[in-house]
Symmetry: C2
Subunit: 130 residues, 2 copies
DNA sequence: CTGGATCCGATTAGATACTG
DNA sequence: CAGTATCTAATCGGATCCAG
């Protein structure tokens, strides 16, 4: 086999990259990845770090990320059991991009708030109404 | 006013950045932004470029992005009417991150496929079953 | 502590029909 | 061409209960 394939095209709805994007383009997935960037976390540690996430969503998100090979799960047979989540090598190559995105949001929040306000005021002014 | 605020923290569920992330961490939003990176697109041009998107989702996504100030909408009073979408200056600062993410997915699709297969095979092997 | 299982309301997204 | 409006099926996500 030669090492040139990459027929992947994310704009093609039948390309498998679409499914991956759908799983990755998810609020909780991005926050979990960002959280694990610095250090491994236990389940409840993650839950406390990511305000507002429910146990169900956290579990679901962790399973998805584990299945895609982005994080790994290590069980310590303590009593009660301890489970630690950490980025896989593959996941580490992604988090740089992810944190870039979350940082961008924080950095540009003011600009977007202003844009939203302008947009909404234009709406009530009667511009888009029939 | 001093120029130091940024109390924004995306891990706080009451921070407005959460809402922005939720809108941005969306399959269609990322694809639209990526599409507009290179050049302005008309509505149906976008629809054809992003395979699988419905007219409803495209409209909805465009409105969200416009409200957040990431894209602008220009109407040409031709017959029939022509509408062109393009990135705003703010949106341009974001697309570099976005395209990084979509490119990452395409580049690492093989690794993730392998991880998924391994994960699923371990499942049927009886590891997670009771 | 780390989840799995379930119920259920709310939101989403696709399909379809219609308009300036 | 560029949408709006509506109906509905499917999914999501929160709450709750239970277990190793």
């Amino acid at each position: 086999m030669n090492n040139q394939q990459i027929p992947y095209n994310i704009y093609d709805d039948r390309c498998p990259t679409r499914d991956v994007l759908a799983r990755l383009a998810d609020k909780w997935a991005l926050l979990v990845l960002g959280c694990l960037e610095k250090e491994p976390h236990r389940f409840n540690h993650l839950r406390r770090s990511i305000r507002g996430i429910t146990q169900k969503m956290l579990t679901q998100t962790l399973r998805k990320l584990e299945r895609d090979g982005l994080i790994s799960r290590q069980i310590f047979p303590t009593v009660p059991v301890t489970v630690e989540y950490r980025l896989s090598p593959l996941g580490q190559t992604l988090t740089q991009t992810v944190s870039l995105l979350t940082l961008w949001v924080e950095d540009n929040m003011d600009a977007m708030s202003a844009a939203q306000q302008a947009y909404d005021e234009a709406s009530v002014a009667g511009l888009p109404v029939g």
